[in-house]
Each structure stands twice: as C-alpha cells, then as structure tokens.
C-alpha cells in the first residue's frame, strides 16, 4: 500500500503546551486531549515540511571556520530567550564567566582533581551560523586550560566548548519583546561539570533557562528520511538505525544498517515533491524499512523504540546528542534542531 489519504491539518489549532513535559501533573492528563492539533512545528510532526536548503554555495562563509564543529559529539539543550544580552559585550562576558568559574573552584566545586588548572574563557561570535538575517549570530564559548605552573607560553588545551545558535528561528524571535535575544539551541561538548557551571552563569546573568533537549522516535524518523535524501559527494557511509526493545529483563538493542544507495533509492521512490517532505512520506519510508526487516527476521521494529539514527550527514541520538558530519549541511541540520528547541520552549 503506498499512499493513503493525505493527512490534512485539523481545523482547531491549540497550542500543545503539555506536549513537551514528561509525566505531567496528574490533574491535567485525566481530563482529555492534552495535545493540541499539529500547528506546523517539526516537533509536533507537521503534515508538510520544507527540506533544509540544498548545500548553500556559501560564498562568504568559509567552511574551515566551522570545521571544528564537525565529528564531535554535542549534547543538546533548549534555552529560553536571553534578557539583555549584547553581542558587543562578548569580551566582558568572557571575563565575568572566567571570574565565576574561579569563584566556583574556590568554593570547592573543583572540577578537576589534582593539577591546578588555570581556565581561560573565550566568548566569540560565529556569524556564518544563521539561517535568515533575522537570526542572531551564533555565540561560541570555549574553555581552555593552561597549567598554572608554567608561563603563558605553555600550551592551551581546549577542555570544553559550548555554542548557542538560532537557525531560522523566526517563529520565536518574532514573538519576543525587545530586550530579549533568541538563541534557543545550545550545544555542549566536554565535561558535564563545566556545562553545569557555564549554564548556571548564563542562567543567572541573562535570566534564561536551559533544558536538555530529547529527540523523540518520531522526530528521529524525520531526520532519517530527510538526511537520506541529501546528496553527498563522496561515498556515503551506511545508514544505521538503532532500536531499543522495551519490556525485556535485559536491555536489547537492534542495529539495522542499510546501504546508503539503497536507502536513497527507496526515498526517491517515496518522495513526491522535491524540496518538500510530508509526514506520510516519512511513514511510508520507515514502514518499507520495517517490513523489509520483518520479512527477514520476523521482528516488528515498529513496536520498538528508535533511539539513534546515523547517516552520512549527521547522527542523532534520542537523548539529545548530535554529531555533524558534513559542513555543507550544517545549517540544514541546525535548522531542524532549532525548531525542536523552540518547540520545547513554547
């Protein structure tokens, strides 16, 4: 069976404020529908979605500048708008954050046992990472360590990075008051304790709130479909889907690897309008993969939980961990993640 009736947008559009919390309060759930009808957000599976723009020729952008973001594991957070943040004061922020970290260390919240490390903080802007002109340019925070014993000639080692960004976040930025800066997506790489300290400083200073951003199996299947359709120059790596089987005494994961060309061929037969993807197409694509698997192994993958998707473009894990693998699609993936983050905030 190929295409059933196209899912239409339901007439009543409520905001689904209950949708992003896990185990919401008892009173609310028992009353009836808590999910509003989809209002076109990636996080709430819109019936139609535009593909991220094909690799932008990026005339002004130098892929080298963002190359350091690739092939690193980033933990995702959603961040509410920052109050009175100014990208002209980045040096000041670096200084203040540095002082804060030093103070935290004094208090005994030592992050590194043993060697006394001198933490150097740098806060800079990444102007290439934005979708539209309305987006705020990405802000990068880096913590480097330098052994306190030696002079400033000693090597600096990057120990932690975190960056805020907003790619095509117009839905959010259009609706916030003047003094707020929208950088809803935060990505961190490095020790959890540093993430916590930096996060606390930002929360205190700009009155914002960080929350881990999880990715549901539904959203992961969107990513699988979208990324399979992307053209890659060199030989792409296999597409891998990892499923976690519920209700077993021992945890069991199933890894399903698909040859990238087969996956792309399948997707090409499913996708009707270039540049646009519908929920239905994603369903058909995934169902084909599931039935193929069932034919061979008699296991219904649709009864398991999709926890990880890996393609040549990027890999994403349901705990909210992402790895970018292709610089030309970096902003495309960021656009999806920004939308997920905004969904979680609203």
């Amino acid at each position: 069976a190929r295409r059933g009736a196209a899912p239409g947008l339901a007439p009543a559009m409520e905001s689904a404020d209950g949708a992003v919390r896990t185990l919401p309060s008892i009173g609310r759930l028992s009353r009836g529908p808590t999910f509003g009808r989809a209002h076109g957000r990636f996080g709430l599976s819109p019936s139609g979605r535009l593909l991220p723009p094909a690799p932008r020729s990026q005339e002004n952008a130098d892929p080298q500048r963002t190359a350091f973001l690739l092939r690193k594991q980033w933990t995702l957070y959603s961040v509410t708008p920052l109050y009175r943040f100014s990208d002209a004061r980045l040096r000041d922020y670096a200084r203040l954050l540095s002082a804060f970290i030093a103070a935290e260390k004094q208090k005994g919240l030592a992050v590194e046992v043993g060697v006394e490390l001198d933490i150097k903080v740098s806060v800079s802007s990444l102007p290439d990472l934005k979708g539209s002109d309305q987006d705020q340019a990405a802000i990068l925070v880096q913590l480097s360590s330098r052994s306190a014993a030696s002079s400033k000639n000693s090597e600096e080692k990057l120990i932690w990075s975190g960056w805020f960004c907003c790619v095509s976040g117009d839905d959010l930025s259009e609706n916030v008051p003047e003094d707020f800066t929208c950088l809803p997506l935060f990505l961190a790489n490095g020790g959890e304790s540093y993430t916590s300290i930096v996060g606390s400083w930002f929360q205190k200073t700009f009155d914002c709130c960080f929350r881990r951003l999880a990715i549901s199996p539904l959203n992961l299947s969107w990513m699988a479909a979208m990324w399979t359709g992307c053209k890659v120059d060199k030989t792409a790596s296999a597409m891998e889907l990892v499923f976690s089987v519920p209700c077993l005494p021992q945890p069991l994961n199933i890894s399903y690897a698909i040859h990238p060309e087969d996956a792309k061929a399948l997707w090409d037969t499913v996708q009707k309008t270039p540049g646009e993807i519908t929920q239905e197409e994603v369903d058909v694509f995934m169902d084909c993969l599931y039935s193929h698997f069932h034919r061979h192994f008699k296991i219904h993958l649709s009864a398991t939980k999709l926890v990880k998707v890996s393609t040549a473009i990027a890999s994403a894990h349901c705990d909210g961990i992402i790895k970018f693998l292709q610089s030309q699609y970096l902003t495309g993936v960021l656009m999806l993640l920004t939308e997920l983050a905004i969904s979680q905030i609203q």
């Binding site: 759930l29 539904l218 939980k305």
Partner: protein
Amino acid sequence: HLATSLPLPSERDHLRPRIDLIAFMIDIKSKYSLKNVEASLAHVDASFFLGKVCFLVTGVGRVNYCSVEMNAIWKLGEVYCSPVLFCELELEGIRVATAQRLLRMLQICAGHIPGVSALSFGSLMRNSADD
C-alpha cells in the same frame, strides 16, 4: 475482556456476553500498536461506531518516547466518529481516573443510565474535544 487484536476467536462466540463498549488502546510509544488497531477496526460491525467505540491513547506522559504521530490518531477518531481519550498508565492516579471514566462510559453504553444514550454521549464527547 482483553484481546490483543480482532477478530475475536469464533470458537467462544456462544459463551461471550453482549459487548457494550470497545476501547482500542494505542500506545504512543509503539507504531505497531496503531497499525494493529487500524487492522482490528476492520473487523468491527458498523453499529458499534454509534457511540460504543473509543480510542484510548496510553503513554502520553512520555512525549520524548513518542513514535506515533498525533495527527494520525486524531484522524482515526474523526474517521470512526469515536472519542479519543488520553492516559498515562504508569501513574496510578491517572490509571484509576481513566478506569472510572471508562466504567462510566460503559454504564451509558450498556443502557444503565436513563436519559443518556451511547450515541448522544459519544457526540457530546466529540464535540467537547473539538472546542
């Protein structure tokens, strides 16, 4: 009576009491459960859809585990003219409240509540969901 899918085995037809309400359970964490329900719906006599069917969506407390698209569920409710209820089985309070709701619905469907028919109640539930 609990069944994993329909149709029910015909051997026990003569022993089975009258069925007043069918609650189809869809686990939001399992796409398979939705497919299963869709397949089972085909085996239900049309007369049941006059207020004697409802869809019970479970696992809604764990949105981060969501494998089923909400639109598909709403559509099911619309196509089969039946109300969609949500619950989270992991929380005892909600479990109990949902059971009480279903019991109430069952009483109406069985004709035990004078003045309220299954059909009128069903359309009342659907209309309030749309608001």
